[in-house]
């Protein structure tokens, strides 16, 4: 895709620490244009978070084998190292996490952390100017009494406020791409909605490209332009939100959408389910990883990993039965 701000080509990540290498990501292609939001949807072990962390090269080098190419804002991420990598993190691409207490340093005030981040990436910014910017950021993420909160420590804030502070820190150096790793999963429902609305608003105002990793389809629908469904390290279905939600074509997506206990009890009926459990990434079958759980699987499914089938409007599905599944 031309004009993309982030382009991932054939990303493969394997963790080699255990007896058998774990193929966490197994050939992911993904491109984002500026200002676009893609939700990366999947269950635990699907490789969604691993993909996200690869973009910032956050995996321990000695226990990870990483292949493929990642280009963000014209920078070849795989070629970065040392100071260049540190400069890239936070300035070009930055990230927010599920647990803000792990991302924020407990021994510094929030103001100190944000000013430090600004002055590290932009030389020549005075302490006063950086503090003014930090205050502006706190106002922007709608932290009440921002002046006072800049001098607070992370533990003094409630969960939702901490999440806002972390968003402020992530936006401190005007990144072009924001990576969100389940930022609302640990929050209560009434707080989750507030944070989702805030992220959507900031993303639009700042024209950020954003990858939003989540296990909750509802959250994906709420924030994203496109949805990419991951299973066992591969994107099995990708497309515009409306297409994926209203006309899912991969059996796994169809199953996920129908297992949601939505709309109340269906007059005592059982929920439709996907049988079995997610595969062991250390010993993946040669064919389609979903085949053992798939009701429409045939012997052909077990032979080779299915290639992506284009359905038009950027809707693509990795299933050899795509034509047959309505």
């Amino acid at each position: 895709m031309t004009g993309s701000i982030l382009e991932i080509r054939d990303l493969r990540v394997a963790f080699t620490g255990a007896a058998k290498p774990v193929r966490a990501v197994d050939g992911v292609d993904l491109a984002l244009v500026p200002g676009e939001v893609v939700a990366l949807l999947g269950e635990s072990g699907s490789g969604k978070s691993v993909t996200l962390r690869s973009i910032l090269r956050l995996h321990p080098e000695n226990k990870t084998r990483i292949e493929g190419s990642i280009v963000a804002a014209g920078i070849d991420v795989m070629a970065l190292s040392g100071a260049a990598l540190a400069d890239f993190r936070g300035k070009t691409v930055s990230m927010i996490f599920q647990e803000p207490m792990l991302a924020l340093d407990p021994v510094y005030t929030l103001g100190a952390q944000i000013t430090e981040a600004i002055r590290k990436h932009e030389s020549g910014v005075s302490a006063d100017a950086a503090r003014k910017r930090a205050l502006g950021l706190f106002e922007r993420v709608r932290i009440p009494s921002p002046e006072r909160r800049l001098d607070s420590y992370p533990h003094e804030l409630s969960g939702g406020m901490r999440q806002r502070a972390m968003i402020a820190l992530a936006l401190a150096c005007n990144p072009k791409v924001l990576l969100a790793d389940e930022p609302t999963t640990a929050l209560d429902a009434t707080v989750q909605v507030q944070i989702l609305l805030l992220l959507r608003e900031l993303q639009r105002e700042l024209d950020l490209a954003m990858i939003f990793v989540t296990h909750d389809i509802g959250v994906g629908v709420e924030v994203a332009d496109r949805i990419a469904v991951m299973y066992a390290g591969r994107i099995v279905e990708i497309g515009a939100v409306r297409d994926v939600i209203r006309a899912p074509r991969h059996p796994y997506t169809i199953g996920l959408l129908s297992t949601r206990a939505q709309g109340g009890r269906l007059s005592g009926k059982r929920l439709p389910t996907i049988t079995g459990s997610p595969p062991d990434l250390a010993s993946l079958p040669p064919g389609c990883a979903f085949a053992p759980r798939c009701s429409s699987a045939t012997s052909a499914c077990l032979e080779a990993a299915p290639a992506a089938v284009e359905l038009g409007h950027g809707h693509a599905v990795r299933c050899i039965h795509t034509a047959a599944v309505a």
Binding site: G159, A189, L197, D216, V221, T259, A261, G264, R270, T273
Partner: protein
Amino acid sequence: MKDENASAPLLQVRGLVKHFPVKKNLLGRTTSFVSAVDGVDFDLRQGETLGVVGESGCGKSTTARLLLHLIEPTAGTIRFGGRTVGSVALPLKEFRRQVQMVFQDSYASLNPRLTVEESIVFGPMVHGIARHVAQARAHALLERVGLDPVRFAGRFTHELSGGQRQRVNIARALALQPRVLVLDEAVSALDKSVEAQVLNLLLDLKGEFGLTYLFISHDLEVVRFMADRVLVMYLGRVAELAPTEDLYTGSRHPYTSALLGSLLSMDPDRRTVAAPISGDPPNPIDPPAGCRFHTRCASAQAVCAKGAPGLAAHSREHWVACHMFDAGSGHGSAPAKAA
């Protein structure tokens, strides 16, 4: 509660209170408390599923642990089948045989040094059942929860997936042949595809064994699917209690409405445009005076900061603790007091 029409409830909870000490002064005297549960009343009827919902810190999990006497209540009574728990008529040990619990963390709730079979037979053997009888029961239950005893009885918990472990936990709870199962966020840690399987299993087991469920969850969709009646808690108190569909389609308490308004639509053309309430739940160490929700409530008036509203019947079966529905409370929206 004044439930004249209903038959005698299986489990009756009255005035349940739990204060945890958080700060002590130099002399070891406690100077401040978390009032985790603060005067909770409810009935659990034979054969129903009572859903309990609320945000973190609302006291739903504490309520579950108080029910099983895993922690001692500061005040309150629990009656089971008309008998007070802990009395001569109903010793704690017998009560615990009848009421079992499934925890959220499937890994932490199984002893890592025991095999699946040993975990399941432990309870029955405590109650004097011979090992071979307990083993036969364990194998039958494993079969019933969808785990082949030949493959799973001799395994250790770290060899199982999250869904399989939670099935073992359910079998372990059922091994005592209880009448009530307390499910404390029992499916919250599972992936959606596995969650649906376990929910179906719970529905089947309930019919088969004639169980009564107390189903605690933060997930309103799941509660709507499972529950017959729903109890909404906020900061240690009951906000609303109603039959499931009444609650989901005609909620009265502003907090319940906010919770329901926070549900995501799953429809890209009907995205949420404004958050129903702002801010986080207050700290339970120092909860707001009066109605605990008044600090976040759009309809709050002066009266709400003064007195705590009691749980009152809005219609038959539908109970609300809100000054707006309490005749003569002094709230502008309250109905006039009947002459």
